[in-house]
């Protein structure tokens, strides 16, 4: 993720990019409107650590620049990856570096518009883009990536989608910005749980639950033996789900996992009895997570 990326479709971005990259003039690629700012080594390490990259992971790096993130992920952790950059020379250089390091079979780099890239195969998505680009990608990330996919971003956040973790990295050699530090943010793509669910607890209650979702928060109402109770403490972290229905001696605590179409796990009542539960949608599974 070495280059802050620009879309060919957005020529006016040039002005925008120049506005934030004043200090990066020396580093900027001489051609086009693409400011190319290499990721410092400490930031690369922080991104891979925060994402928890390991063997078996498939990274997609949007704005792959000189390819250092994928090359590091492949050589150090045994991950595979696809790097996307709009600068043909950086792509060529990255592929050459991969070959030279004997990683040509695991990582490859392509010259492509990042908005046209199919990101669905990623288990980890790495970004070093301008905030506007993160925000423009956000809905695609929420809709296309599998629940549980980790997203890490250097410096730019995702607006009101709060990161699950963040770390500040000291970068004395940083060439952009006033502060000589970088922020690395991490999110886990939440399962899309919005909508109506029919919950069945083994040997027990049937409950109808209407969930609303805002990123990793879920809330809503449950209809339980004719009574309406609120859904409290709702959390979706990747595929992992937790919520509470009812209060006091009536409380039920649900934990489980979901791919968006079904949920299953174990439910604990206020007396500590644990029972298996599962939930299915009476209707169609939504394909998008509405962001209000």
């Amino acid at each position: 993720m070495q280059s802050c990326f620009s879309r060919r479709a957005l020529p006016l971005l040039a002005a925008l990019l120049l506005a934030v990259s004043g200090a990066a003039q020396a580093q900027q690629h001489p051609s086009e409107e693409t400011p190319y700012v290499p990721s410092p080594r400490g930031v690369v390490d922080a991104m891979l650590t925060l994402a928890g990259v390991r063997g078996g992971d498939h990274l997609i790096d949007l704005g792959s620049g000189d390819g250092v993130i994928l090359l590091t992920a492949a050589s150090r952790y045994g991950a595979s990856g696809l790097g996307v950059d709009i600068d043909a020379r950086l792509v060529k250089r990255s592929n050459a570096a991969a070959l030279a390091a004997g990683l040509g079979g695991r990582v490859r780099f392509v010259e492509q518009d990042l908005f046209k890239t199919d990101i669905a195969p990623a288990t980890v998505l790495t970004l070093y883009l301008l905030p506007e680009f993160n925000m423009a990608l956000r809905q695609t990330i929420l809709d296309k990536l599998r629940p549980g996919t980790r997203v890490v971003s250097h410096d730019a956040d995702m607006g009101d989608w709060q990161p699950e973790a963040s770390v500040e990295v000291q970068v004395p050699e940083k060439t952009v910005g006033v502060r000589k530090t970088s922020m690395v943010y991490m999110w886990t793509v939440p399962a899309r749980l919005e909508g109506r669910w029919q919950v069945r607890i083994d040997g027990g209650e049937a409950i109808e639950v209407d969930l609303m979702q805002r990123f990793q928060q879920v809330f809503g109402r449950a209809s339980r033996a004719g009574r309406t109770q609120s859904v409290e403490r709702g959390l979706v972290q990747g595929r992992v789900v937790f919520f509470q229905i009812g209060m006091g001696n009536d409380a039920l605590f649900f934990s489980g996992s979901s791919n968006g179409a079904r949920i299953s796990g174990s439910a604990t009542d206020a007396r500590g009895r644990v029972q298996h539960w599962r939930a299915a949608r009476p209707g169609a599974t939504p394909t998008t997570l509405s962001v209000r």
Partner: protein, 290 residues
């Protein structure tokens, strides 16, 4: 119900509701003790909120004419003890329990409620005053069994927020401007502050973790340490004996739920893939304070 704690009281209007003949005890203007009977509807509401059931031992602080302990024994099969400072009310309560055939399960003693041993109670009912509730709070938190239910009529416990509250319309209520009663329920939270040791599964193997837990009533916070990694404990809370918390991010996310005793937590942990594993933790040190 009866407000005792004479030293703490100014004055509250005394009132009597004579709804059941055996409890037809006129409010005796004993010194500065205000005696306000609990309407039957409120008695039922308190027992319902406490989920009082057969096998429970109920203690009623300020038992007045004894109706809570007697009703619980009659309708819910509990055993109970009423604490009352007025000997005449204790006499009447005993007589009523005998007449209704529950004297074996509804006992009454003359006692200062601050001297009462509340450790054995599964259910504690109170119709006192706010500062009396607050004065009792440290003993409730430190001594009562985790998961025990505490129900208070009208008064809360300051910054220890109730786990549940209900408001009942009580047109016959003799005190206050609002002809309603608010009932609060607290589940005595497990005392989990301190350092715990556990071993948890991760996709890359098991991890030995030390968890420092800070507790404020039902809410938990803290840190999980493994080697040189330190992760914040998030979304932590206790619900009576039950506890819930999570730490870790992304593929290393772990969601814990279990039951806590004084030196052990036993439960299940859910990993990022949704797999559940049995899990337990052992106490290393207790916290200095609560």
């Amino acid at each position: 119900m009866r407000v005792i704690a004479s030293s703490l009281l100014s004055a509250v209007a005394a009132a009597t509701v004579l709804s059941v003949s055996v409890w037809a005890v006129p409010a005796l203007a004993l010194e500065e003790v205000p005696y306000v009977q609990t309407p039957d509807k409120v008695v039922e509401g308190m027992l319902e909120l406490a989920a009082a059931r057969s096998g429970d031992y109920l203690i009623d602080l300020g038992s007045g004419d004894g109706r809570i302990v007697i009703t619980a024994a009659l309708k819910r099969g509990t055993r109970g003890l009423g604490i009352e400072i007025d000997p005449r009310l204790v006499e009447k309560s005993r007589a009523a329990a005998k007449q209704l055939g529950v004297s074996g399960r509804a006992d009454f003693v003359v006692q200062d409620l601050f001297e009462t041993d509340i450790r054995t109670a599964d259910v504690l009912t109170m119709y006192l005053l706010p500062d009396v509730n607050l004065a009792l709070r440290p003993r409730i938190l430190a001594q009562m069994k985790p998961g025990a239910r505490v129900v208070s009529h009208d008064w809360d416990m300051g910054d220890w927020k109730p786990d549940m509250s209900v408001t009942l319309a009580v047109p016959e209520k003799k005190i206050g401007l609002n002809k309603s009663s608010t009932l609060h329920l607290w589940l005595v939270p497990a005392r989990v502050a301190g350092t715990w040791r556990t071993r948890v599964p991760l996709s890359k193997g098991v991890m030995d973790v030390e968890i420092d837990i800070e507790q404020k009533f039902q809410e938990l916070a803290g840190r999980a340490r493994s080697g040189d990694r330190v992760l914040p404990v998030e979304r932590g809370f206790v619900h009576g004996e039950l506890l819930f918390f999570r730490f870790g991010n992304g593929a290393d996310t772990l969601l814990f739920k279990g039951r806590a005793t004084a030196d052990r937590m036993v439960g299940r942990v859910t990993d990022a893939e949704g797999r559940e594993y049995p899990w337990r933790a052992l106490r290393k040190t207790a916290a200095a304070g609560r």
